[in-house]
Amino acid sequence: DTAVSQTPKYLVTQMGNDKSIKCEQNLGHDTMYWYKQDSKKFLKIMFSYNNKELIINETVPNRFSPKSPDKAHLNLHINSLELGDSAVYFCASSPGGIYRGRYEQYFGPGTRLTVT
């Protein structure tokens, strides 16, 4: 009964490859997020979807493309991977702050991406 799950947990790939990370939440939340945590543990928002609609799109290279097939799923596809993309990527979900007044976010276990 995992609340927010991500696959895979580890991803090792070579520069130039294309890869995807998948996220699913079973909390019934409307809003989902992608965060990047760098080697210094700094957490930065990348994208957010509310009920399949993109609502946050930070300054992220357009090699990164999120997709939300439904409100329980949010995937992250990365094209032409670079060394600097190596990080831990976290998915998170929240009830849907602007609609329900609740802002708490629940994070998945993370996907450690290593680009060689």
Partner: protein
């Protein structure tokens, strides 16, 4: 204006002591201030959160103190235990927005037995 500054970067406390982590923000529109706890290899977990209409919130051994005029808030961990050893992040968000959290830089806490 979007920054949240957190200090110290690392903290070592003896078992039973009080751990204090501080955060400061600039954007006065922020009105939701959570703290997250992250263990190695795990995702951040919401620990406790406060809104600026109260100056303090306590949950068990964890207390948030909030100073609106100074634009500062802090996390106090009373009777710190070795199991509290983790990285702690403060964050801030603005109502009516997208729920976007701005995180502090994180504090690595080590509680020595």
């Amino acid at each position: 204006q979007q920054q949240v500054k957190q200090s110290p970067q690392s903290l070592i406390v003896q078992k039973g002591g009080i751990s204090i982590i501080n955060c400061a923000y600039e954007n006065t529109a922020f009105d939701y201030f959570p703290w997250y706890q992250q263990f190695p290899g795990k995702g951040p977990a919401l620990l406790i959160a406060i809104r600026p209409d109260v100056s303090e919130k306590k949950e068990g051994r964890f207390t948030i103190s909030f100073n609106k005029s100074a634009k500062q808030f802090s996390l106090h961990i009373m009777d710190s235990q070795p199991g509290d050893s983790a990285t702690y992040f403060c964050a801030a968000s603005r109502s009516g927005n997208t729920g976007k959290l701005i995180f502090g830089q994180g504090t690595t806490l080590q509680v020595k037995p």
